[in-house]
């Protein structure tokens, strides 16, 4: 038997000057289930709250309706108040008679009538409210960072410095990502390796960081605070504990394959470190190309290795589970395969048409040419270089619709480097727009133009060979003329796209991706480093094209979120989540795909069904840690087995009914 108390607030004169609060209280007293109604000047004030608490005691009330301002304003205030009483804090409803009544209507009958309706709806609903209890979930105090580029490195260091354990997982044999491939970074032109390799060493030396290279995420279970991640450690075939990193094996390996790190400009052995400053500084054997592992004939590395038992051809991939409380995805980007998109640029038939990252290796002091810009076809120094921007970016027809953000700046940097290193060089940059929104970016671009780079506004429509060299043909849209430039080297500043395998990985964690495959942030402005999935955060270019400063800033932001989470021992969850009436659930699974949080799973249970005492059937289960309480599943449920606590079907229907009583 519900004994409902209704408390009507004057809100000074905010409400009472428009709504006849006395009449509302009188009407409320007559409503079914209501055993007490009162009005007061300021319900939210100390005496107001005391008045409610007194009335609860005096009249034995067991449910409360407060007609006052918006629940978005004071619902938590009154819930806290109820904690002082015997009443569960969820046996409370607020009738919004200020923002949605007194403030939007003129004084008079109608406003009062509406207030009474709103109170009636609240009274009807509260009668069907049930006590709810928020639950506490424990938090595993360890973070997983997936991806060892600069984003992952920064995030891991920040979390580790705050005193939490971190596992940094990288699928390549070394951390460092794209940044270590670069030569210099804009706009300051400091050497990329000089600023990133110390951070890599910090990672390997940090007591709170466990570094896993050549490893992948195989499976993910659990939810915020309680993830269980299956990690697949690929076999390195080199015992990392005893290897001294002397490098003799790399020198002696007879098998040479194209170096991915040098973008095909040089070769590497089958037993290799990704690059000389790799962390960890120990080689792995690439099993796809190793002669010993492929056909059992070679074994030279084992023979020349000075450490006995270090090379182990019998090593196997290992899979194991590890628990984490939070995850940061930092899977980064790759450049688009422009050959498949832009046949008019030769589709890879011309060796002297290269992408920006290849140019970085070409101009890099530790690259295959030791920093001398030599064109790939014949090793000659190019005199005229054409740089084409937005190749694949801002091109919805053939490439990606978005702007890749960093290209304008690194195109300017490339131009600067060419003009700096090659005496008498000429650089033509074809562009759509020049976008330089960053600190000191515009100044850098300006300087590049002063250095002599010629900016031509227009797209290159075709790159062809005239029998002697390459010709770039395009339109100068400012002159409204076709132009042709004979080039010794063409650098295409190609679009960024999500890294290989990022989609599958995002899927494993249940996060979603946008139309272009970038990982979707929870809110584009206000929750930029969180995913839709609680406890899974993101950093760097996996969320969208970014330059290094933005990537590092986002990595630290994600780390701050993780530290905040891991600093708690337990987490309180909202009790207003979906609940399943197992007796009604038919296990049809219609709710499962609707849930944006993958909180619903189908499970097989054993129960008593009629004369079968141990019948097996499938039902849906809601994971309280994952459910955010949107209620989408309730509409999909055919049997009405799923309901949303706090907003049950019966509660909403009774509100509707109350309007026409």
């Amino acid at each position: 038997m519900s004994k409902i108390g209704v408390f009507v607030c004057h809100c000074g004169t905010n409400i009472s000057s428009v709504v006849d609060v006395y009449k509302v209280a009188e009407a409320a007293a007559q409503m079914p289930g209501v055993s007490y109604a009162a009005e007061y000047k300021y319900m939210c004030s100390e005496p107001g709250q005391q008045m409610i608490l007194d009335a609860i005691k005096e009249h034995g009330l067991n449910r409360i309706v407060i007609a006052a301002c918006s629940p978005r304003m004071h619902e938590t205030t009154f819930r806290k108040m109820l904690k002082k009483s015997k009443i569960n804090e969820y046996l409370l409803e607020i009738a919004n008679i200020r923002e949605q009544d007194a403030w939007v209507h003129p004084p008079g009958e109608e406003a009062t009538e509406k207030a009474i309706d709103l109170v009636r709806m609240a009274v009807a609903k509260v009668a069907k409210n049930e006590p709810l209890k928020s639950s506490l979930i424990p938090i595993t105090k360890k973070a997983l960072v997936v991806g060892g580029g600069i984003a992952g490195i920064q995030a891991a260091l920040d979390i580790a410095d705050a005193g939490h354990e971190v596992v940094l997982l990288e699928r390549e044999p070394s951390i460092g990502g794209r940044m270590v491939m670069l030569d210099k970074t804009f706009p300051t032109l400091d050497c990329s390796a000089c600023i990133s390799t110390p951070k890599m060493v910090d990672v390997s030396a940090h007591p709170n960081i466990k570094l896993l290279t050549y490893a992948e995420v195989a499976a993910v279970k659990g939810y915020i605070g309680n993830f269980t991640v299956t990690i697949r450690q690929k076999a390195k075939y080199v015992n990392q504990d005893i290897c001294t990193g002397c490098g003799i094996c790399e020198d002696k390996c007879p098998k040479k394959v194209t170096s991915e790190f040098n973008k095909g400009l040089s070769d590497r052995p089958a037993i290799y470190k990704l690059f000389p400053q790799a962390v960890p500084a120990k080689p792995v054997i690439d099993r796809e190309t190793c002669l010993m592992l492929q056909n059992g004939k070679c074994g030279i590395c084992a023979k020349v290795c000075p450490v006995e038992g270090c090379i182990d051809y019998e090593a196997k991939d290992v899979e194991y589970d590890e628990d984490f409380g939070a995850v940061i995805l930092a899977t980064g980007y790759k450049l688009v395969d422009w050959g498949g998109m832009y046949d008019e640029y030769g589709a890879g038939r011309y060796p002297d048409v290269i992408d920006g990252l290849t140019f970085e290796r070409l101009v890099n002091a530790s690259g295959p040419t030791e920093g001398h810009i030599q064109r790939p076809s014949d090793g000659k120094e190019p005199k005229t270089v054409v740089i084409v921007k937005c190749v694949g970016s801002r091109d919805p027809k053939k490439g990606k619709p978005y702007c890749s953000r960093a290209c304008c700046m690194y195109a300017a940097k490339h131009a600067h480097q060419i003009l700096d290193k090659i005496h008498g060089a000429r650089v033509f940059i074809f562009y759509i727009d020049v976008r330089t929104p960053g600190k000191n970016y515009e100044e850098f671009y300006d300087q590049t133009r002063k250095d002599g780079a010629v900016y031509v506004r227009g797209r290159v429509s075709r790159i062809y060979s005239d029998g002697e060299g390459l010709v770039c043909q395009g339109e100068d849209t400012l002159l409204n003329k076709q132009v042709r430039v004979k080039a010794d080297l063409v650098v295409l500043e190609t679009a960024m796209e999500p890294n290989e395998g990022a989609g599958e990985l995002t899927g494993l964690f249940g996060a979603s991706r946008d139309v272009n495959g970038w990982i979707q942030e929870a809110h584009p402005k206000l929750r930029p480093v969180e995913t839709q999935v609680g406890g899974v955060f993101l950093a760097g270019a996996c969320q969208g094209p970014k330059d290094i400063p933005d990537t590092v800033a986002q990595a630290s932001a994600a780390a701050a979120k993780v530290i905040g989470l891991l600093n708690q021992d337990e987490m309180e969850t909202s009790p207003m989540i979906a609940a399943i009436d197992e007796s009604k659930c038919s296990g049809c699974g219609a709710c499962e795909p609707i849930c944006p949080y993958r909180a619903i799973t189908l499970e097989t249970i054993r129960s008593r069904e009629g004369r079968f005492t141990n019948a097996e059937r499938v039902i849906a289960k809601v994971n309280a840690g994952l459910c955010q309480g949107c209620g989408a599943c309730t509409v999909a449920c055919r049997t009405g087995a799923i309901d949303l606590l706090g907003f049950r079907n019966a509660q909403i229907l009774t509100e509707v009914d109350a309007l026409w009583q």
Binding site: N14, S70, P71, R72, N96, R98, E99, Q100, D101, A102, W103, V104, H105, P106, G108, E109, E110, A111, E113, K114, D117, L118, M121, S512, Q520, Q532, M576, I594, P596, Q628, G629, C630, G631, A632, T634, V635, L644, F647, N649, I652, L653, E655, V656, D657, L659, W660
Partner: protein, 160 residues
């Protein structure tokens, strides 16, 4: 509290008020508003002291995707003259995808209502964000005007 002097009365805002002498026929409109966008927008309309017809009653739901078609049917059965389902703009849903379900259901719901002899003009789905107080005001005024023009919904009103 700041009062927005620019917040005026929307055209048609006075429709349904008793002043015109037809108080008996003032329509009642039920609006299911999602907690994160439209309900917040409605609160903001109050904060800005915007004026709109008093015949709308808001039911707060966590998400427009929570609105079961059953709720809408029940409202019409009880005699609601108009029903609105309001949520975040597509792509802005607090729960990522809820309003896409709403959008799809809305199309089907209109057909169902038509089949049942209820003018689909009585049923509206609108996207109103937490900052669009003026849009909330204008939408209520517009729907109220449309629904008043249709007269009372007596199709399924239970005789008592």
């Amino acid at each position: 509290m700041a009062i927005d002097k620019t917040a005026g009365t929307a055209p048609g805002a006075m429709i349904g008020l008793s002043a015109d002498g037809t108080e008996a026929s003032a329509p009642k409109i039920l609006a299911f508003c999602c907690n994160w966008c439209t309900y917040t927008g409605a609160d903001l309309a109050g904060l800005n002291r915007m004026k709109y017809p008093a015949n709308v009653r808001v039911v707060r739901v966590p998400c427009s995707g929570r609105v079961n078609p059953q709720f809408i049917l029940r409202a019409f059965q009880k005699g609601a003259d108009g029903v609105m389902v309001c949520g975040c703009h597509p792509g802005d849903c607090h729960y990522a995808t809820g309003n896409y379900f709403t959008r799809r259901r809305f199309m089907l719901m209109r057909n169902l209502l038509e089949f049942n002899g209820i003018d689909p003009k009585r049923f509206h789905a609108r996207w109103i964000s937490g900052s669009e107080a003026a849009k909330f005001r204008d939408t209520i005024a517009e729907v109220a005007a449309q629904v008043s023009a249709l007269g009372p919904n007596t199709r399924y009103r239970e005789e008592r």
